[in-house]
């Protein structure tokens, strides 16, 4: 394409876009000065809050928190079994306080265990087996 001989290019070269209207300058500069003044009067906190970078950082931090929360709550229990309801879940490994309670030193080494206080129901006395004259065990007392 040889633009030097192109009548369209010659036509465009001899013309120009119109200038902006003269009245526009004062209008634009007045509005821009107000914007400049607003920008100057904003404090650091306002600028930080309006900063896209800060907003992105806030959004990213919130997303990480939510993802972490969801990830932890969906994590399967150790051992691969199906997790039961929280109340039925096995108690966690005893902490230091619980271990200390379990390992209390006994005050009286001769003390009898609490289970001995409760009287147990005596077992039913076995029925003596009777034998018949031929030496066989009677059917009624066989079991």
């Amino acid at each position: 394409m040889n633009d030097d001989r192109d009548p369209l290019t010659h036509l465009l070269d001899g013309l120009a876009p119109p200038p902006p209207p003269a009245r526009l300058e004062s209008r634009v500069l007045r509005a821009a000065r107000e914007a400049l003044e607003r920008d100057r009067s904003r404090d650091g906190w306002a600028r930080a809050w309006e900063s896209p970078v800060w907003r992105l950082a806030w959004a990213a931090a919130l997303a990480v928190l939510i993802a972490g929360h969801v990830g932890l709550s969906l994590q399967p229990p150790a051992g691969g079994g199906v997790a039961g309801p929280p109340a039925a879940a096995p108690p966690p490994t005893a902490g230091g306080e619980l271990a200390a309670v379990g390992g209390l030193q006994r005050l009286d080494v001769d003390a009898r265990p609490l289970t001995g206080i409760v009287h147990e129901q005596p077992a039913e006395a076995p029925v003596p087996r009777r034998t018949n004259p031929r030496g066989e065990i009677d059917k009624e007392t066989r079991s």
Binding site: L15, A16, P17, P18, L24, D39
Partner: protein, 202 residues
Amino acid sequence: MGADRIAVARDPGERGGPVSHAQGGLGADDWRRIFAGLADGDERALEALYRATAGRVFGLALWRTGSVEDACDVVQEVFVRVAGQARRLSRVADPRGWLLGLAHHVAVDTVRRRRRQREAPLDEAPFLTAPEHDSARLVDAQRVTRLLGHLPPAQREAVYLKHYADCTFAEIGAIAGVPTFTAASRYRLGIDRLRRLLETTP
């Protein structure tokens, strides 16, 4: 910061006459000084930025929206946004591309918003002008303006950026948020269509 340090040339797009697209544009030091001044809250930097870039921003907005009224709104919105984030401007790597990209996005938003609200047709935007004393050129300007009205806004924008803002296809792609190939394709499609219209339309 002294006013002389941020005094820059007025955008050729504001002179009212034909613009050579090779002219204009701020150097890297000019941009740095203006953005540093804005970061310090210097209103003179705002004025310097307007004088240096308003013509280009207005032209881009006009060619994208097809309405002088909308283009004025876009220019105002662009400068309000620039002033509102003046402290962060020092981090902008390509100030001119960033500013034109901002103008592009604001213009696209404006067109979407107005499309829902507007019932009356767009005003006939004078996409191109010529010196008043040159009657032949004036006729040409009116004719090309009519032809440009037939182009889709994206193609019209690519033609503007290439021809009047002196942007490369890579820069046009960055401004419009499209790949370089798409930007080049839009420009070529727009130019080809303009040529056909020029041949067939009286």
